[in-house]
């Protein structure tokens, strides 16, 4: 399968919901199971984003059916494995979408800078 993706392919997914983006981010540096994703998101946001079981799996189901993530066949060693767990990986397409989303946010931030949004206006 050719991995050449155009803007058109990723566009329908943008903007991603915050929860979806966080899940993709959590998988960016390696495969994880549900609980690990949840912990990763919570740690990176310093506890500000807390996904509940329902929200997490609702998003996983959506991302999986859209092909942004997939179940990973690689599992940890038998002694460390919990057979109830499933491991998820970021697909190439999922990575594209995450990158596109990050770019979109980057552009938005750049525009905010250009408009001096972050500097307090001087009061007369």
């Amino acid at each position: 399968m050719t991995e050449k993706l155009t803007k058109k392919d990723t566009e329908p997914f943008l903007p991603l919901t915050s929860a979806m983006f966080q899940v993709l981010l959590a998988l960016a540096d390696g495969n994880k199971h549900g609980y690990a994703i949840l912990k990763d998101v919570s740690r990176r946001s310093e506890g500000k984003i807390r996904l509940s079981a329902g929200t997490l799996y609702g998003n996983l189901a959506r991302l999986e059916s859209a092909g942004l993530i997939a179940e990973s066949s690689k599992r940890p060693e038998f002694s460390l494995d919990d057979e109830r767990r499933r491991y998820y990986r970021l697909t190439d397409f999922g990575r594209e979408v995450a990158v596109a989303e990050a770019r979109r946010m980057e552009e938005a931030v750049a525009q905010a800078h250009a408009k001096h949004l972050f500097t307090k206006p001087e009061t007369a």
């Binding site: 549900g34 079981a53 329902g54 929200t55 997490l56 609702g58 919990d82 109830r84």
Partner: protein, 882 residues
Amino acid sequence: MQEKHTSVSQKLFQLLLRAFPFDFRTNYEDEMAGLFQEQQREAAQEGGVMNFLKLWAETISGIFRTAPREHWDIFRQDCAYAFRMMRSNKGFTAIAVLTLALGIGANTAIFSVVHSVLIRPLPYQQGQQLIFIRQQAKKVNIDDMGWSVPEIMDFRAQNQTLSSLVEYHVMSFTLFGHGDPDRVKTAVVSWNYFDMFGVKPILGRAFVPKDDEIGAPAVLVLSNEYWRNKFGADPKVIGQTFEMNDKVHTVVGVLPPIPQYPLETDVYMPTSACPYRSSDSHIKHREMRMMEVFGRLKPGATLGQAQADLSTIGARLQSEYPKYYPAELGYGVAASSLKSDLTHDAQPTLLVLLAAAGFVLLIACANVANLTLSRMARRERELAVRTALGAGRSRLLRQLLTESFILAFIGGLLGLLLAFDSLQLLTNFAARLSPRASEIRIDPSVLLFTLLAALGTSIVFGTVSALFSRVNLTSGLKEGTAGAGQHRNRVRSVLIVSQVAFSFVLLIGAGLMLRSLFKMLAVNPGFKSQHVLAMKINFNWSKYGSTSQYAEVSKKLLQHIDAQPGVISAAVSSSYPLEPELLSGGPNSNSFQIEGQPLGPGQAPPLADTVSITPAFFRTLGIPLISGREFADTDNDKSPAVIIVNQSMQRRFWPAGNAVGQHVSFDNGKHWWQVVGVVADVHDLGLDHAPALQAYGPVAQDGGVGTLVVRTAADPAAMGVQLTRAVHDVDGSTAVSEIITLDQALSESVASPRTTAILLALFAGLALLIATAGIGGIMALTVSQRVKEIGIRIALGAQPSRVLYMVLRQGIVLAVIGVAIGLAGALALTGLAKSLLFEVTPTDPLTYAVVALVFVGAALVAGYVPARRAAAIDPIEALRCE
């Protein structure tokens, strides 16, 4: 302890997970449970009840935010899939949608009538407190003898349970001063009539106490409809004056557009303005009864309490004035809720129709289920493949139900259109049954009913397909599994049998109604309705005060009418047979006694319906004279009083047939009327009403003029304008209205049973068609499944006629089983329609036999094509097929 706590939470969590769709659960349940367990462990490590509570709060809100989205997603997918399936099976879709539309449409239409007429509360303030009060004479079968002014006063003053008691009667007066003299239906009411109903005028004012005082300036309140039709909704109408009954009347108010109970009238006036009601004879005399009475229960009072209260007053009056309430009348007072009084005539008909419509919907369900089943046979592979690809069974069931719902929903929308279309027709129909018909509309409750009908329908026929798919999904991949096929055929047979059974009940109902209608139409009305035109004529009564003046103007009028081209004969009378007003208002009945036949002690005097006529009345209507003579111009107020009686009266009192020459008194023996003729019985109150005792008197002796009947040479309907002009030639102040032919009056009088019969026949025809198509369909299917077997039979020497019989037998067996079940159902149910039948018993053997034959015949016709195909199977071809 901790562990126990955890396991309880875990169970609770798993219970919550049930909010998710089945497939989602199958996929993620274990993982989610594991994750929640970890979260709990973490919360326990951190310690504190707050952590636990927070976890639960987040978990619960997460589930209830996510689950609906999951369901919605699946629904959208299923819808998209269903629409694809429907597009690729256009024939199936069209038939299913149409069948459901007819079923749901019929139910929606009938329900809108039932809801508006029977269920919805009256559109008045606290309508449940309103009651209708009647004085009755039970021993002489008078259900409503009306009220006199002294009686109304007594009941108003003495009752303990009513917050108000108002009177009402309707008269027709002629209104001058606005174009042609206009005959207006006028309700004469107590000043607080509108207050009691809680109706406020939209213009001007309602009546006030001083309007009711004798001698007060006459005032009018217009009905909304009359104001719109005659005054173009002109608000300046308030304060305008008109002449009525030789008095100036001022319009003081206009009513809002409310249904007017118990009758639609044009204008309202207070009792003081009615020349009859305000006359001394009416105010003083206890026996001058012509009013109706309504009341409102005091808050907290029940109908039962009011009934007891009013009966006590009735008993008191009876002992106080024994002369006016003789024991032989069986006097009593009856209170009923206004709502039940306005609807009880309509109830049996509407409920029968609702049941019939319900049956049609059930049959439609069975039929669509059957269609779905045969389509499932073709979809087996598709469904099995989807199962193999991981779709859970419940997922497939859900999809099938969604497909069913979409079909039913589209059918429901179409049905709603049908219902909207038929609303006017049904309103006209219901208007003959209840004054509430004008309220019929499709409102949110009816829409909800339609939605529920569609939902219920889809569940019924969707579940049948689903039940079938449960058996079959796993075996679908295997080629030609006989077990599933047989099961499917059994289900189909059950469906066919139930369709036949329901259709049979419907057809019996329709058959009974039709037979009853035909019996009614076969009744000889006693007059010749062809070529007769009838109209109401209202002479300006203030111009013609006395009987002789009425006789004079009638004579003049008839001379002029007789001279009109195309007129064969004409007569003036107080009423004519089957006159709409006579049917709704009842006849003019008078008690009488026969000379030489004294009443026994305690025996109530007999009653006769009396009609005033001019000499040519019988000739004009074609009522045969049996013996004696007709009236002549010489029978006037100077000659002896005479009457003509009908055959029923002769049969009862002079069985020897010698009525002519006998004497009858209508005033307790003060005067005697001589019988000069006997005429044939006339069904003047309806073909289904046995002719009453009837007595005719000459207009020249009795007065009482209200209608003109004219026999014409050509089409009577075309002569209305010419004859109206002729009436106005004689007296321009005469109001002419309600011009109809006697044929129309006759047809109108049977309109209600006719419409009921037609609607039932329509429903039954539809049901028969669906059931027959169902039988044909299943037989065609069995034949195609049995090609090989039939081929072998033929190869082994079976005669084509034998094969034909074998296939036909299958259809007939289904029909016979259906008929047998339907027979039991019909015997149990048609008794409910007894009150709608005329001279036909609910178990009429002829109807049952004919309908059963129709079904067996229908099964034969339906089975003939597939049976012929089976008989023509070429054994070599059939064997090669395998």
